[in-house]
Symmetry: C2
Subunit: 344 residues, 2 copies
């Protein structure tokens, strides 16, 4: 990828509270309504296990980024109805369902600093409650009565599922190139960010250009967000995420910084990466060694350039969307900017 696009400084957000917090307070009533819908839909008279698992998941918190995108897009497009609430709940349910299945596939033991559902109950419950959440999200989206919304969400679901299957085979092979990695994170993160923003604009009856602007914004923001996350797993940060440095490495996950380092690696370095990633045998001291190689090859900074470029693309995608009185467009741009500024 080339150098970051230039963004006029007037588009950059002011210092102060985080954009995610400012958006959250502007949209506080909507977010509370979303939480209420999620709680209501999780009730299952027939299968109490659903409620236990769901309560555990939603008590774990999380930033509700995807519902925020839907709500913000709808409001920014002047929407005054209430279908955006159900849609915002829909995207959060889809997200939660994929987390449940991811944790089974990754055999994860902790998420957001708490034990995963597959550890507390079992894999069976995680698979089936994931299916249940997905079916509930499906009912919610049908209630909007919009085939266009359903089309966007069906395509997102297919991209997510395809990305997950691709990751199964790609995440442990050193032959995985950047193009494949980008497909994986598009499925893992960007497809749902994109759909979340796009359906908010669609439900508000925005023009095709504006809808495309939100779709592109969500996609680029999602790519930037995931690349940043992958870098932070090596470099760490002082932000609010409770993810531990080195988690991806200990799980032998191939991410963008490693792909870049492998592409320029010496034969000796390739032997190292083969052992820790492909053979899955990272040992004591290997994380420090990996960091040394990544710094030597400038791989983390190169990955950061890519994340910044996606963040710039995200903000540009919104540049033709008119700003609202309460400054939602600026805050969405700020979200995309702050995401990568975790890297500075």
């Amino acid at each position: 990828m080339g150098s970051p696009l230039s963004i006029p400084s007037m588009l950059r957000t002011e210092p102060g509270p985080e954009p995610v917090e400012r958006l959250g307070s502007i949209l506080a009533d909507d977010l509370a309504a979303v939480d209420q819908i999620i709680l209501d839909r999780m009730k299952s008279r027939n299968a109490p296990r659903v409620e236990d698992v769901a309560a555990h998941l939603f008590a774990g918190g999380g930033k509700r980024l995807r519902p925020l995108l839907t709500l913000a897009a709808a409001r920014l497009c002047g929407y005054t109805g209430d279908s955006h609430i159900g849609l915002a709940a829909t995207v959060e349910l889809i997200h939660t369902a994929t987390l449940l299945h991811d944790d089974v596939v990754d055999e994860s033991r902790r998420r957001r600093g708490r034990p995963t559902a597959n550890l507390l109950w079992d894999n069976k419950s995680s698979v089936l409650v994931g299916d249940y959440l997905f079916s509930r999200s499906f009912q919610l989206m049908v209630e909007t009565g919009s085939i266009r919304v359903l089309d966007v969400l069906a395509n997102a679901a297919a991209t997510i599922a395809e990305g997950e299957v691709l990751q199964l085979t790609a995440s442990r092979s050193l032959a995985t190139d950047e193009a494949t990695y980008l497909k994986v994170i598009r499925g893992k993160t960007a497809a749902l960010f994109s759909a979340s923003a796009e359906v908010g604009a669609i439900i508000a009856g925005a023009s095709d250009d504006v809808v495309a602007g939100f779709r592109d914004f969500g996609l680029a923001f999602g790519m930037s967000f995931q690349i940043t996350d992958d870098i932070l797993d090596y470099r760490g940060h002082s932000g609010g995420l409770r993810k531990n440095v080195g988690d991806d490495f200990r799980e032998s996950k191939l991410t963008l910084p490693v792909i870049k380092a492998v592409a320029e690696g010496t034969p000796e370095e390739i032997v190292f990466w083969k052992r820790v990633i492909e053979l899955g045998q990272p040992g004591d001291g290997d994380f420090a060694k990996a960091l040394q190689i990544l710094e030597r090859r400038d791989s983390l900074d190169q990955a950061r350039s890519d994340a910044v470029e996606w963040s710039d693309k995200a903000r540009l995608a919104l540049s033709s969307v008119p700003e609202s009185e309460c400054g939602i467009r600026g805050l969405l741009m700020g979200l995309a900017e702050r995401s990568v500024s975790r890297l500075y």
Copy 2:
């Protein structure tokens, strides 16, 4: 449940080839088109594992009962378009996706006489390819452009998922009563049978009464079909199913005959059921002992009465639907009748 409803003999099918085969030959072109759509949609440029797993699944055969219901309902309602093909593919994909997740949850090793995908690949692939098939089915149903169809399928998906979670907790507990068992098999089998028939009628523009007739037919046929299957696991049959007698028992699954036997069991029999079902410790000779108890308590015949009653309900549900020239209504009624006649 009471005695079987009386059905006029004119509604009964003629002897000869099985109704499923006769329906299959009347709808042969449609079925071939369904298979082609499934094959096309299973292609994944990005994730070759999907194709491997899907090819294994669809090569395993199966009777394509659910697509047959959709195609038959649409044709019987005089449909001349081609949206029923995509819908029939949709219900088969949903069915296959649930089988993949079921096999993970049940830790099954064989299905239809062949190794399961979770055994050939791994649980991860089964979970994720199941998600992928479901997302593809979701795209297909959105292509119909019918919110009413989507509503029916979303509700079916929720009933299926809820039934699966309920089964997790209910299938090993002797406290499970008939009402709970009926909820489980409604989710496991009847909900998708019902939706398959109903969406065929909806897409054909049938009246609300006729749509309800197909919905009720599919539901009752599904209930009858699953109860019959559960009985056959004890009693066996000479039909084409390659399911082994005693599979459910060896997996300590609580099904209708056992629930009936437990309800009337002596203290000594309850101790036996506790050991083989709740504690999951069936041993040599226990299957023969279970059969003895089931015969002594008349549980298999009682369950058969229930299956026959559901089959009668299924046929009655179609009685106000006009017959087509090629006799599709009679064949659907014959399907429901033959399903339980496996028990004679």
